[in-house]
Subunit: 124 residues, 2 copies
């Protein structure tokens, strides 16, 4: 095992970049970082087993909180907490009927995202 030579190449790497033209060109077309973070946050909501279970279930049928608990075998408060997150980002919507609150996917994009993701998973 060798000792490091002298100066860390790492620092320079970031600054130099290999293909300045490409980097600058892509930078122009990159959404601003707020937008990218919003996008990341949307996907993060899909990126958890419990939440993806909720979403897939709701893509099949509107369901109340207790239905989701039973289906996914999770505590009621866990489901409620996650539904709150999903609702805040308009991924699901809620409708109260007496004591019961029914949840559903907010729009068709959500279903299409689920389907498209599944295509990638299924194609091995």
């Amino acid at each position: 095992m060798l000792e490091t030579k002298k100066a860390p190449a790492t620092e320079l790497c970031e600054v130099k970049g290999i293909h300045i033209e490409i980097v600058e060109d892509v930078r122009k077309r990159l959404p601003d970082s707020d937008t990218l973070n919003e996008l990341a946050y949307l996907f993060k909501l899909f990126g958890d087993g419990t939440r993806i279970g909720i979403l897939w279930a709701l893509s099949e049928s509107e369901m109340c909180v207790c239905d989701l608990c039973a289906l996914l075998n999770m505590k009621q408060s866990a489901i409620s907490h996650q539904l709150k997150n999903l609702k805040q980002s308009r991924v699901v919507k809620a409708r109260r009927e007496g004591k019961v609150v029914y949840y559903a996917l907010d729009d068709e994009h959500i279903r299409r995202l689920l389907d498209l993701g599944m295509v990638h998973v299924k194609e091995q």
Copy 2:
């Protein structure tokens, strides 16, 4: 503020479920939990600011690691670690040319996922 009555309604809730038929019907159509977890993991990969930056950049152009470092202003090892995660799930692919490794999106589904997610973000 009231004291709790007697027995926790919470436990029963999970078992009872309000709409047994719906729950059982949805259960039949729900993918098995391994598949759902794979799907969640795929979305989780999209659910981070650095990785979504990488992915959006690669949707514009093939780029090497140093290009991505410069573009996103991140340390080389951070980028490399994330590229490893993305590669493991076949979200990106790598091509070596001498010392330089070029990364690109693995297939068209990835680009479509990005676009579809952005539609949701943009429509306020």
